[in-house]
Amino acid sequence: MIAAALSTFKGIGAQVPKLMAQSVIPALGISFFLLVWHLGASNIVTSLGQFPGPAQVWSQTVSLYEEHVEVRQKADRFYERQEKRNAEKLAKNPDATIKWRSYTGKPSFADQIFTSLYTVMFGFLLASAIAVPLGIVCGLSDRMYQAINPIIQVFKPVSPLAWLPLVTMVVSALYVSEDPFFQKSFLNSAFTVALCCLWPTVINTTVGVAGIDRDLVNVGKVIKLSASTNVRKIVLPSSVPMIFTGLRLSLATGWMVLIAAEMLAQNPGLGKFIWDEFQNGSSNSLARIMVAVITIGLIGFALDRCMLILQRKISWDKQAVLR
């Protein structure tokens, strides 16, 4: 039966237009996965009940959305009441000191997503701002490369989570402020992400810059380009593909590490959501964790696609096949 299905499958693949093939084949793949998941899940029983199948996960997705709407309404009502109270106060006594408080209820699932996204982007941009220039310097100068390479090689394989306690202590020691612009937990997560985003970008940028066509480098020497023009007109354009390879690797690992860091340090974000659900241990917990798992995957995928779109926009080579 499977063989027959496969042969019709092949027949369809040959006949239908490309667009159809591009949507039908992945849809078949996903359906097959859902089927296996459904069958597999129904056979696993944990202490928190049955392992969630696609249906339970979907219903939890809906309920997480509803909870999010509810939280929003609560917050809106809170602000409404606050405004009313303050207005009344002012009406009675124009000189009264009034206080504006922000809503401090439990963050919804959507709030956690945004916290995580915000954190990963901050850490990633911070790391890229250091890693790309450093990679260019290492690629251009053999001596710099020899000086920095041992450090890169030693720190590269270190799990950024090992840095987490150090980062936490350093942040709380150095970031002392009466009215902090950033929360400490945010900085801890962001710096941890930055520490792991550095290396792939540095290494790939170095390789890209060092691998520029010798002839192009020689052209730059013959026409005596200034160092900055050389970087802008020759070095950067020719190493854009490698820089983006590094950036994409960095962002992907950064996103993975962030979730782990949030779980470990109880910093707000998707990682904390998962940990809280796990500790909560209700019959819905596993399904809700599964929703988070899928969300993390989808966001990681979306981040990578965004980087690809950005690369297409920036790179001169519009013919290049990007994967």
């Binding site: 192009l216 020689n218 052209v219 020497k221 013959v222 005596k224 007109k233 001169w316 080579d317």
Partner: protein, 280 residues
């Protein structure tokens, strides 16, 4: 001695992981202003090394290169290079590729409109002004090489160095570019050193053909003076006795006498009268 370009007893030894390699030994060549000189020899004989040393992209182990009595120590636009594979920046348009050179070389001496006119002037020298806004991947190999030549010419070099400029092109395109090169050489009177593998090309274009012995320790084997009056026409030359004689001399050197450096031949290097082709 008053030579425009004096390549004086240069030697080059490369140090590699597997030991040292002596590429050039006592290569000596004097070139007059406006002369068109070809370097010919088998692959690996160090022709490109000579060119790169003159360009300043490689340093010498011994000896020195002097351009108008000044020793060459680094690359510069007075010795523009035309690379075999055009070496255009694929992310810059034809115009911008030339502009990159012009803006860098004439910074402070030409204003904006002069720079613009100069870029177009050099593109029109190689008949590429119509494609100024094209990207390199949109034009043919021959056109790319034309742009490479325009970029080199735009630097107003004292010496134009061409590293097998037409080697990667098909025969018809190559012939067109050779004709263009002759035309430009006639108009501008540049001093040119060209590396080539093509005997006909060397005879057609050059005033002198410098034949190098096989490496390692390559040196100048023999020099043929090509006393064919200019302008030269490739069709008429096919039957020309002088042309065929020069051709014969080069082929003889490459395919029979070239195997080992022979002392008698080298003795005549510095005195063109002795090694001058007797074609006249």
């Amino acid at each position: 001695m008053k030579y425009f370009l004096d390549i004086s007893q240069i030697s080059k030894t490369f140090h590699t992981d597997s030991g040292t390699f002596e590429a050039l030994k006592d290569v000596d060549l004097k070139i007059d202003e406006g002369e068109f000189v070809s370097l010919i020899g088998h692959s690996g004989c160090g022709k490109s090394t000579v060119l790169n040393i003159v360009a300043g992209l490689l340093d010498v182990t011994n000896g020195g290169v002097f351009l108008e009595h000044e020793q060459i120590t680094e690359p510069g636009p007075d010795r523009a290079v035309v690379f075999q594979n055009h070496a255009l920046m694929p992310w810059l348009s034809v115009y911008d590729n030339v502009a990159l050179a012009v803006k860098s070389v004439f910074k402070g001496t030409k204003d904006k409109s002069e720079i613009h006119d100069w870029i177009l002037h050099n593109l029109s020298l190689v008949n590429m002004d119509h494609a100024a806004q094209k990207m390199p991947h949109e034009i043919s190999g021959g056109m790319k090489q034309r742009v490479g030549i325009a970029r080199a010419l735009s630097m107003q070099p004292k010496v134009l160095l061409m590293d097998e400029p037409f080697g990667a092109l098909d025969a018809l395109t190559r012939a067109q570019l050779q004709d263009s090169t002759m035309q430009i050489h006639k108009e501008l009177g540049n001093t040119v050193i060209m590396i080539t593998h093509d005997v006909d090309e060397a005879v057609l274009l050059s005033d002198r053909i410098v034949m190098m012995t096989n490496g390692p320790a390559a040196r100048v084997g023999q020099i043929v003076n090509v006393n064919i009056p200019r302008p030269r026409d490739r069709l008429a030359l096919a039957e020309d006795a002088q042309f065929n004689h020069c051709r014969r001399l080069v082929l003889d050197f490459l395919y029979s006498a070239h195997a080992e450096p022979v002392d008698e031949e080298i003795s005549g290097v510095d005195t063109p009268d002795q090694t001058q082709s007797e074609a006249a």
